[in-house]
Amino acid sequence: MTRRVVVVGAGPAGLGAAAGALRAGAAVTLLDAAENPGGQYHRMLPGAFAAADPGRLHHGWRGFERLRDHVLGHARCDWWPESAVWAVERPDRGVPHVHVLRGEADGAGRARHVLVPDALVLAPGAHDRVLPFPGWELPGVHTAGAAQALVKGERLVIGDSVLIAGTGPFLLPVAASLLDAGAAVHGVLEANTASTVARGWGRRPWELPAESGKAGELAGYLGLLARRRVPYRTGRAVVEARGDGRVEEAVTARLRPDWSVVPGTERTIAVDALCVTHGFSPRLELPVAAGCALRDGAFTEVDADQRTSVPGVHAAGEITGIAGAQAARTEGLLAGWIAGGGAPDAPEAVRTRRSRDRARAFAARLAAAHPIGAAWPGWLRPETVVCRCEETTYGALLSAGGDPSRNSAHAVRLGTRAGLGPCQGRICGPTVAELLPDAGGNPHHRPVAQPIRLGELAQPPVENPIENTDRKESAR
């Protein structure tokens, strides 16, 4: 009987996983909450890449298109767009069940489905991470991902006079798409010092040639900034946003390697928008719900073949470590191949592992070049909002966390409401965990992984939807 593999997420990792499982001979159900495959990677393309270096970067885009067309057009692949996984259920025995809502997120009448796979590949990706600073809750302060989505999706530029700040390589494509869309970009501020960045890039230089395409892509962005006379400064950050009702000026300051502010280096710049990114937070609620062990509490633990600690559950992409599209795609290929019943020692598996390890090594270099400095909480004031949904302040968190009679994660959450709003701690969760490291609790524990309306929840699930795959196959 054909093995059934459910793949959650259709970004580079999920598409790779679907391709790997199909190649192994399995029937695949590929799910994504979005209307189109591609995930965050898709949102970055093609405009931003074209702006930087159309020739080379369109090549990467064509690779993505080929993979997408191959997977979606495959007879054994059932593509479920606009399908949100709202729960993963662990049965007493066997592979976890996947509870899905199918249909437009804003539309009425999404149907509830339950998928019972032979193997499950989780590839839900990551979302923007933003550290708080005074004024970050003002309108006009955007995450880099949100700014990208506005520019790419709706051709909306976030402002006429924009400052981009934070850390990581993602600052660059965001700057490129804003420039491309006609915004005046004042500058790009990388919080890490030049020596931190250089040290990260300079490690193990023999690994670089293999990933020269990626390095060249970044160099292309830097060239674009130079041509457009947009300064790229290291060791500098936005430490405050000010404005009456929306952001009007940004206070920048020079940082030490640990991100503490060098006194007296503050400067004020008039802006009408700020774009901030501090890397990515993996979306861990599904692996946590599936019972997967975490590595350092931060990523899904996987073995050399992308197996998690739960039999039949595989993981790929950013939930196993923030490593970018190339690593995600190869992790996906391997995860899907193994999930689909492919032999771990098959030549394609060996090749895939090798290119995955190269991509991961490159990602490790990036991570070393762009760490989060431990002294960032020094930017905060007692009245600084940490949880934007519930307007919980840094002072309220500190006072709860400092009192041993009420410092459990649960009591802090219920007492300060940090993490209880609409985003359910996806934005502030990592921050709160970092500010109160001893509170305990699992910030990724979200048994309801996506909002589900009471009416949808009350309906019984649609019967046996996964059978469709077999029918589709036999009909051809």
Binding site: R406, S408, H410, L414, Q424, P447
Partner: protein, 386 residues
Amino acid sequence: MTRVVVLGAGIVGAACARELTAAGCAVTVVERARPAAATTAHGEGNILVSDKEPGPELELARLSLRLWPRLLEALPDPEAVEWEAKGGIVVATTPEGAAALRAFAAGQRAAGITAAELDAAAFADAEPHAVKDVAAAVHYPEDAQVQPAAAATALLGAAVRAGAVLRTGCEVTGAVTRKGRITGVRTTGGTVGADAVVNAAGPWSGEVAARLGVRLDVRPRRGEVLVTAPLPPTVFHKVYDADYVGAVGSGEAGLQASAVVESTRAGTVLIGSTRRRAGFNDRIRPGVLSVLAARALRLFPSLAGVPVMRAYGGFRPYVADHLPVIGPDPELAGLWHATGHEGAGIGLSAGTAAVLRDLMLGREPEIDAAPFRVDRPAVRPEGRAA
């Protein structure tokens, strides 16, 4: 000064610590994890008389209702506890349910509880967004709600300010005994000497009792609650269907669900609650949440489009005869139990602590404590060694 070790920093342990410290004891609270992190944080914060039939539990609930306002008054920040005397409305949707509800309410009235039947117009007035065609609705103005973790940590904070010592991340591993009397507990953080030990470990108190060398048949019973996105004021009381009373009083192992719908100060609506025995298995079952949603929509069909943001589940300390366990352990002198409140521990904690204090100090408790004694068949079955 009597040295008392309280095991567990949930609401019951916190209330006992506060009461015993106030009575002059030197109290140490030993908590395996952190305060108010388990059962206490996973409930709705019920302070109810409406779900209790006349008898010892209702008397304990009434005592607690008398004590709560005084406890709150003595706190430095009573607002944080989010006490709301919102009242409860129990609704029956079938004729049989209505007859049972009326009989139940009549019994409670005879016991001194205010239970006023609402006609259709009065119910629609009290809960304009609820279902219109109900067979019967009874209003219990004495029902109240608190934010449970805040209540527990406030009581614990009061105890600590009065001199109690809190030891978190400290798990009890055994008893130190001398001549048949407990003289201390061994913990992962060393031995703590005591003249008296109070087992307030909630669903884990059976396990704690076993470590101390005695039997106590308290088991976990799983419950789940749904939380919606914040809404404008929609639900004004604690509204529940009459089956809730049946679910509380039942010993069935399988799933029982009856809707309890209420809003919190933050604007979210809480929908509880299920009861099933599943050991300490903490996996949330979507099918169970589905049943809960369907039950809630029977009461509030207009909530169908409201998104559920999260669900949480916890364990309640369950005793087969549905009565708390409060009193000395006859098999081990110096050991006391304060546990087994199932889903009512938040409300009953105040009365429980007062009764325990009186028993410990040799005073006459305000209510008859004999029904809560440890050596009753439901708690200590015959012929089974520890």
